[in-house]
Amino acid sequence: MAAYMMLDGNSAAVQAIKMAKVKVISAYPITPQSSISEELSRLVRDGSLDAKYLRVESEHTAISAAIGAQLTGVRAATATSSVGLALMHEVLNVASGCRVPIVMPVVNRALASPWSLWCDHQDTMAERDSGWLQLYCENVQEVFDFVTMGYKIAEHEDVLTPIMICLDGFFLSHSMQKVLIPKQNEVDEFIGDYVKKNTYLDPLNPMVINNLTSPEEFTEMRYQQKDGFDNAAKVMDKVFLEFEKKFGRVHRAVEGYKLEDAEAVIVTLGSMSGTAKQVVNMLRNQGKKVGALKIVSFRPFRSDLVNEMLKGIKRIAVFDRTAGLGSQGAPLWHEVCNALEESNAVVKSYIGGLGGRDISLETVLNVFDDIMNNDSKNKSPVWIDLKDNAMDIRQVKKDA
């Protein structure tokens, strides 16, 4: 039988990686991911995970070694955060371009500068065009479930695309929650053994992978990746249903909460989604018709589902945990705007929760207050939790 465990987000990720029977781990510590690297090394040492642990000297090597290992025909694991993910950037595109379906937890943390140890989504948002699938977790159970499902989705022969499982630094990575962990044989039945497909390194069946490609073929190879993303959407929906049937928990690429008669809806990513739902309940108790839409799959972005679920909603608040500097709005807002067809809704971009600032009940209440009552035509993003003295903080001012 499945059993409940008290786990933090990082331990839930480790548990899922262990149960996927990865054979090679290449890991490098970075706050707040470090305990994933540590726990995996302990599991290898005590023999409960039959894997080779490469204690690498950088994230760049961590992802490179994982690609090399997985190309030989085994599951390889790594994990990272923030600037570690940024250091991987070049090689993330190799993993996706070579169709190496690595499953990688990313513990979301702000990018420097200024230095921050704490959560926001700029690290993974900066990789949204790297050719990786991206799922965002609301709670620790989702961390376990999404990592587990990640193997089944990424490795599907019609997908063959690596996947980031994004979990909010500290809010999930270090938050202890009750998690239902299935039995090993159930996970085995669900994800199966790793089977190498398409490109691989085998001395008995040699091929040279990733050589120079001419303009005659490059576009078509990118298009094949695009096809993988299209397929990922369908495969993901199917895997969610299979998971539900086997393990009883319901997950969807996009999840609506009290949308039926809603007049105003907040769109969220990650751990803020729980807070948003609670605020919806509070406002519903006051008779206000509000709802929430949680985006689980940011890549592929499910415009079809978002459009369908937001049909008829008049006021839409999109909450991004990243700044989207220099653009008219932040990344999630762009996606939502683009998804809506034949809609005359007011769709506003809200930015908050940066560098570890808590997205509190009050923050979400302020978002609803603004989207429901502010009819200003100003299309600039609203920095919803910005302090009044923003321009006075640590400004270097020259004397007149």
């Binding site: 090679v24 000297e57 490179s64 090689v91 992978i209 990733n210």
Partner: protein, 291 residues
């Protein structure tokens, strides 16, 4: 199209697009001839990447991966780990990278690979600059050599790869040269048989980048060894062995004067490089005799 599976004699196709007189081509043919077909090769972008081929063609009969410029050793370590975990302890994993991909941008991942003890053969073919991108200077470009980014001749000394890897207490490391193919092939064999990381640093004459006639690659290689511009030695289980110990080196200028890249070098510079060579050689000999 040439069919590498049926038509090439060794593990590398005939008719590759290397420059006339390319030292690298001779080296890679000999290296793979020694290692055999139970080998997987990792090559970063650079001259050697042309052997990976273009589009759906390749010059190799063995499997391989073209990595990024700075992580050849990282891919190699991962491939080895993946093979080991499937019970394959026989396939040689060969990293084959140039001087820029090794001594500049790839030094960190190479250092990590050696420190962890990953059983990978790492070969640096050193043509002493970024030749494939147009002869830009690297940290292995010798002092006084003109490149497109050291037009006045490189002011500083080159990095010493083998001394760097020796500082890791690597099980096996050696320099080699086309001047002595038997020695080179023996060292490749030793590297393959080493139970742990092994690094070979192979002097790789480049007529295009060094400005000499393509017919003179072997002559240049021999002069490099005879003048001491390239010292042949190995480091095995903590012991240094100098493989070539002439009573007297030929004057360095005999090696330099054949190459356009040194045409503007001053006599004082030649003399100071000559002194450095003698000093390095004496240090090596002392180390070899003491140990």
């Amino acid at each position: 199209m040439h069919n590498t599976k049926t038509e090439c004699k060794g593990l590398v196709s005939n008719g590759v697009s290397a420059c006339a007189g390319c030292g690298l081509e001779l080296i890679i043919r000999n290296v793979l001839d020694v290692l055999g077909e139970d080998t997987l090769i990792v090559i970063p972008p650079g001259c050697a990447a042309l052997f990976c081929g273009y589009g759906d063609g390749t010059a190799f009969k063995i499997g391989g991966f073209q990595g990024n410029l700075e992580n050849t050793a990282a891919y190699g370590a991962g491939i080895k780990a993946g093979l080991e975990m499937q019970g394959n302890d026989h396939t040689t994993v060969l990293c084959f990278a140039g001087d820029g991909a090794t001594l500049d941008i790839g030094l960190q991942s190479l250092s990590g690979m050696i420190e962890r003890g990953d059983k990978v053969v790492y070969i640096c073919y050193d043509n002493e600059a970024y030749m494939n991108t147009g002869i830009q200077g690297s940290s292995s470009t010798p002092q006084g050599a003109a490149t497109t980014t050291t037009p006045g001749g490189k002011a500083t000394q080159r990095k010493d790869l083998i001394q760097i890897v020796m500082a890791h207490r690597i099980p096996y490391a050696a320099t080699a040269s086309l001047a002595n193919l038997t020695d080179l092939r023996n060292k490749v064999k030793k590297a393959k048989e080493t139970d742990g990381p092994a690094v070979l640093h192979i002097h790789t004459p480049c007529p295009t980048g060094w400005s000499y006639h393509p017919s003179k690659s072997i002559e240049i290689s021999k002069l490099a060894v005879d003048t001491g511009a390239w010292l042949l030695y190995e480091y095995e289980n903590g012991v240094v062995k100098v493989n070539y110990k002439p009573k007297h080196f030929k004057p360095l200028i005999e090696y330099l004067k054949l190459q356009g890249r040194f045409k503007n070098i001053s006599e004082e510079k030649v003399s100071s490089i000559q002194q450095d060579i003698n000093k390095r050689f004496d240090e090596l000999k002392v180390r070899g005799e003491l140990l």
